[in-house]
Symmetry: C2
């Protein structure tokens, strides 16, 4: 894989670039819909392509549990199993460690998970995780990290960070020995909670290992927004300027624009799709809950300026009816809309960056968006 910065914004730390992978090129800033189990919930591949999605991220560990490596391997890898011809990122599954019902135990050597499917215990070492990710195939894979919960004590975050760093090293060694000529990229993940010294020392040690790019993990997990932005502000400038910066799990319209301004290149989040399944849709004026009775006879589209299939074909009243009746089409139409909205926002952000108009674009959008009247 290769990453080129094509334009640096004159006013913010934002940058516009091109990420080249074995499955094509994608422009950055990039938002990736999440295909945890090998599918973006309610979407088919044509839907995704129509929204301009050229990169998805799946969860390697969950796919290892279901349907299992054997099945994905016999299909010829995850790309073929999903019939997705574009870019695929793979996440280790380490994030599941903050789910108490999922984590069994973790020590320096490995993490033990209880399968959410059958309760069986699986031991995941960094080497095993790399083996799984390389077997699944993909364009960019992430090192196994240990993500402490929001609000964890400093000493716990510090202990957890030691694991993250040790595992990153072991992932890198395994990867260098086994990736061969697969041209897949390996990203390290920066942890350290909201602590400047821990984030700083993490970056120092990770960059010594020279990963192809860097994930910023452990944010947007319940901490205050001000803590998240403070952390991004002291974290991002320490990352190597020529490598991809991937802010993991962030995906609200306002967070995307604010983080792009700080120099983030890549995002993923279940927010647009999960919100859609809970009737929350994005509009230029902010989020609204389209399942509310207010909208039951509203004949206007979800968002007046949106060009998505849902907005061009259906009214708020119809979508409200479908959601109330739990008709499967309801959550598909809201998901189509939310993904289109975010993909279009990021596309416009890229254009604004190239035209050195990003700050104005961001402020304009946020002024209208944050005046949410719902």
């Amino acid at each position: 894989m290769e990453f080129k910065i094509l334009h640096e914004d004159s006013c913010t730390s934002g940058r516009q670039g091109l990420l080249s992978t074995p499955h094509g090129e994608v422009e950055t800033p990039l938002f990736m819909p999440v295909a945890t189990m090998g599918t973006v919930k309610t979407m088919d591949n044509v839907d995704l392509e129509k929204q301009g999605a050229k990169a998805l991220i799946s969860n390697a560990f969950l796919l290892y549990l279901r349907p299992g490596l054997d099945i994905i391997h016999s299909a010829g890898g995850l790309h073929k199993f999903m019939n997705w011809p574009h870019v695929l990122f793979k996440y280790s599954g380490g994030f599941q460690m903050i789910r108490r019902d999922f984590l069994k135990s973790a020590d320096m050597n490995s993490v033990k998970f209880k399968s959410p499917f059958d309760g069986q215990v699986h031991e995941l070492t960094p080497e095993k995780n790399m083996e799984i990710q390389l077997a699944l195939g993909g364009d960019i894979i992430m090192a196994l990290d240990d993500c402490p919960p929001a609000g964890a004590a400093y000493s716990n975050v510090q202990a957890s960070l030691e694991r993250t760093l040790d595992w990153a090293k072991r992932c890198k060694i395994y990867f260098d020995e086994h990736a061969g000529d697969k041209k897949v990229g390996l990203f390290g993940i920066v942890q350290g909670g909201i602590h400047q010294d821990l984030r700083g020392s993490c970056i120092e040690k990770l960059t010594n290992l020279d990963f192809n790019g860097y994930g910023i993990g452990g944010l947007s997990i319940g901490e205050a927004k001000s803590d998240m932005y403070r952390t991004l502000e002291f974290t991002i400038p320490k990352l190597p300027a020529d490598k991809v910066r991937y802010l993991m799990g962030v995906g609200s319209p306002e967070d995307l624009l604010k983080s792009i301004a700080l120099g983030v290149d890549v995002f993923d989040s279940v927010f647009p799709t999960r919100n859609a399944r809970h009737s929350t849709i994005y509009t230029a004026q902010g989020k609204i809950n389209i399942g509310r009775s207010t909208y039951r006879s509203d004949q206007s589209p979800l968002d007046k300026e949106c060009k998505c299939y849902t907005c061009e074909n259906h009214s708020r009243a119809y979508v409200n009816h479908l959601l109330k009746q739990k008709e499967p089409l309801g959550i598909r139409l809201t998901t189509l809309h939310n993904l289109h909205f975010l993909m279009e926002l990021v596309r416009q952000a890229r254009t604004a960056l190239v035209e050195d108009e990003f700050e104005r674009f961001k402020e304009c959008f946020l002024d209208e968006y944050e005046s949410d009247r719902d």
Copy 2:
């Protein structure tokens, strides 16, 4: 509306025709997917158009309950509410009377339903039903009928039939006075259980009222297959040859072909969509349950000869995985396939009728289909 028979099969009683409505022409034999609540479950309008669906049927009474006439009226009618530009049939909702949890009471004057949504009791007279159906808009509406359950005693079927006939007359009177220049068609529904005399006298009385077409109701509701075919064999020849014959609620591949041979023009059924949501898919070799573990690493398409989106893009293994994980895409892919399979079967049946090859076509299909090895 207008109905023309364009070709009569030389070997069977099958016929090929053209039904012209205010929302376009549809060729018969015709299979209509069911959009009970104003949506064919899991499908959008583009999906339906791609399967060649040019006519749907909705349930007037259920739409009257949810979202309600006011909302559909303010959208400009059901066509506009759904944004469906093609043909719409409307069913009265009388069939719900065989659901004990739904029916409160019925007498000669009206039927009282308990709303499945909020338990509120609604009284439905034939006049009220026509008023609802005309207010919703649509191309063809059905008279309110009383459908006795399968296996009902002769005397009960007889009593029920008296209501069906009285209501048909009242529907026709109301319709003639109120339909105005809406060009909508009204079909009467033939009831009478599996009794030749009752079906016969029903047809005699209904045809005296001169409906635009005739539904055949009260079949495929749990009676033996042999009873259904025996009933069709003595019922269909009594119906006027120049009017549409619509066998309600029938939709398995084998029943479609066998009933087309007996002279049925129009079908509707939730079978293909409901089966799809329960992992049952059609193949040329019969139905299979694609959710079974047998298919977990089967890399072949659902049906080798099928040209639907699912079969052209995804493997049985992938669909099996999606269904097991209850991923929303799973039931959408199986629904797309089942609808395509049925629509294509009926399209081929029409061609075979025109070419006087229907009997051979039917036998070929059934030979392979009924050798179901699942």
